[in-house]
Amino acid sequence: MTDSSRTITGSETSPVGTDPSDPAADSLLEIDDLRVHFPIKRGIVLDRTVGHVYAVDGVSLRVGRGETYGLVGESGCGKSTLGKAVLRLERPTGGSIRFDGTDMAGMSGEPLRRMRRRMQMVFQDTLSSLDPRQSVESLLVEGMRAHGLDKGGESTERELRELLSSVGLPSSALRKYPHEFSGGQRQRIGIARALAVRPDLVVADEPVSALDVSVQAQVLNLLEDLQEEFGLTYLVIAHDLAVVRHVARRIGVMYLGGLVEESDSDVLYEQPLHPYTRALLSAVPVPEPEVEDRRERILLSGDLPSPASPPTGCRFHTRCPWRQPTRCDSERPELRDVGGGHRVACHYAEEIRDGIITPNSGE
């Protein structure tokens, strides 16, 4: 296997395993200073670029092999664009994405296509992401065939049956069409399709947010089981903090195109440092009246600023209850490690944690 992959990928890609002394050797996905900007065009005859939407603006993160990384943020924060850029469904404007040690930036054509077998996506909207005119069998075989995994006859048949049973569907489903299934079952088909080409990385963009609560739990449990069974690495993108906290070991919080905080999920929940994370956590309703009665919500004023003209300095300073008169509006905070791999992009993270700065005292 190593031999054939070498001959195909040639010299520009390093073989599996790379240098063991490299500290990032066990991370499957390495994103560095990733930027995805969309041009805003005007004009009928001549296209003039009048500005850019800074959808993803300088994000760096690492996803370890076999790990689940959760990316949370509200609509417009760039989390989905980031997920698409990882699979090269969006072309990055700058920065680098390394998958299993291989830089994806310069890749195109056949090497990129081959690389994509190893990374698959599960979408939010199961009805529009499955072709209504394809039977489940044809949906599942399509990817396998494209990557030469379809050996035909008995063995494919058996593989499909095993695939369906691992996502909890009967083999009678093969001859049915997407509309014949409920939302939860369709999401299982979407997951089966992603797994059909035996990927290493699965990017799941809001995998359960279109489902009813009782069904959400089934799909979340399924994702966990499959990770164990196939040794998958997940990048789970969701707006629901409770969902992300449930599935992910590490969580990154995004705001307006940038990562504002990243840490182990327990630490993030127990001691959020970034004001935005604090506000986000305090806003999530908990199904327990005692907690709801006691809670003090950190209400953010106003709405998300436009990603086409993000605020200067810290992007959150326009809504931040802890805003300080200096630095916040002029200097963009770097994501820095405050201990134990807990990274936060706030000038005053320690002061806020220690209670030296309190909300609104800066005004």
Partner: protein, 331 residues
């Protein structure tokens, strides 16, 4: 004395070529002035159809509505379309889930709000416009005078929902129905809107019917909670009671299947098996029984009745959670 009395409300959708669908099946509840009543359930449980029936917004053709909806002594279901138009917006206000489709895209926000005021409160156009600006300010829309002239596409999702709340509250209705008012919004905006709704209810004494699938929203907002399944109320309790001691297996199942922010990581969720597609009709037994972990033989034969089990607590179940434990305690 209840403000709104819903008695035995049923809604059936009758279509020629297809079997009749019973969306709401004998639902009864009261809403008292100043209180918040929750209707909770998953898609297809009948919570939205219940609210549309109360508002008289169901299409006339192909819909059979029976039972009684009594608002302060007047029967709403017997009102003519014209009489209903006079009451709706004045005595009853409604906030919908999707503010973009609920607002008219080609009419400025200000005109949409002041139209309600002009029509129901008889103010002049100029006064109505001034009142509209005051309302927008009250619901937290900054710079209301400028916003009055804007169109719905120029507002963000949260601002649209605020505008819609301003419209619903323009005539200080005695009853406000909010159907998934924050489902389309981000959590931080959701927190703003829920806080606003709570304040307004406390300030004006308006009764609120809160329709949602989100147990977290219910836990923070509602005084009394009705859990609906397949068109019927299966459990009713005060919120503290409901969350600390759920008795219906469906209610308990819902609570166990939601991932919680404060639960330890790695704890496995306990989903409810199957989906609503597995339901059996109520005539043949309990609709939930095929998905129920507590089901007995009787559950598939005879539908349970909604019974009062304690003060203020109703339950529709043959084999509720904790029944065995309670019996043991009595022995």
């Amino acid at each position: 004395m209840a403000l709104l009395e819903v008695r035995d409300l049923s809604v059936r959708f009758v279509r020629k070529s297809e079997p009749t669908v019973s969306a709401v099946d004998g639902v009864s509840f009261d809403v008292h002035p100043g209180s918040t009543v929750g209707l909770v359930g998953e898609s297809g449980c009948g919570k939205s159809v219940t609210s549309l029936a109360i508002m008289g917004l169901l299409p006339g053709r192909g819909t059979e509505v029976s039972g009684s909806v009594n608002l302060e002594g007047s029967e709403l279901l017997r009102l003519s379309q014209r009489e209903f138009d006079r009451r709706r917006g004045k005595d009853l206000g409604m906030v919908f889930q999707d503010p973009l489709t609920s607002l008219n895209p080609v009419v400025p926000i200000g005109l949409q709000v002041s139209e309600v005021i002009e029509r129901h409160r008889g103010l002049s156009r100029r006064d109505a416009s001034r009142e509209a600006a005051r309302l927008l300010d009250r619901v937290g829309i900054p710079d209301p005078d400028r916003r009055l002239k804007e169109y719905s596409h120029q507002l963000s999702g949260g601002m649209r929902q605020r505008a819609l709340i301003a419209m619903a509250l323009a005539c200080e209705p005695r009853l406000l129905i909010a159907d998934e008012p924050t489902t389309a919004l981000d959590v931080t905006i959701q927190a703003q809107i829920l806080t606003l709704l709570k304040e307004l209810v406390a300030e004006t004494g308006t009764a609120l019917i809160m329709i949602t699938h989100d147990l977290g929203v219910v836990a923070g907002m509602c005084d009394e909670v009705n859990v609906l399944y397949a068109g019927r109320i299966v459990e009713r309790a005060q919120r503290h009671e409901l969350f600390s001691r759920p008795r219906h297996p469906y209610t308990a199942g819902l609570m166990a299947s939601v991932p919680r922010l404060d639960s330890p990581r790695g704890q496995r969720l306990a989903p409810i098996e199957g989906s609503v597609a597995d339901n059996i009709p109520w005539e043949g037994g309990c609709a939930f029984s095929p998905r129920c972990g507590n089901a007995l033989a009787v559950c598939g034969e005879r539908a349970p009745e909604l019974e009062t089990i304690e003060q203020g607590r109703l339950l529709r179940c043959h084999n509720p959670i904790g029944a065995a434990e309670l019996e043991r305690a009595h022995d």
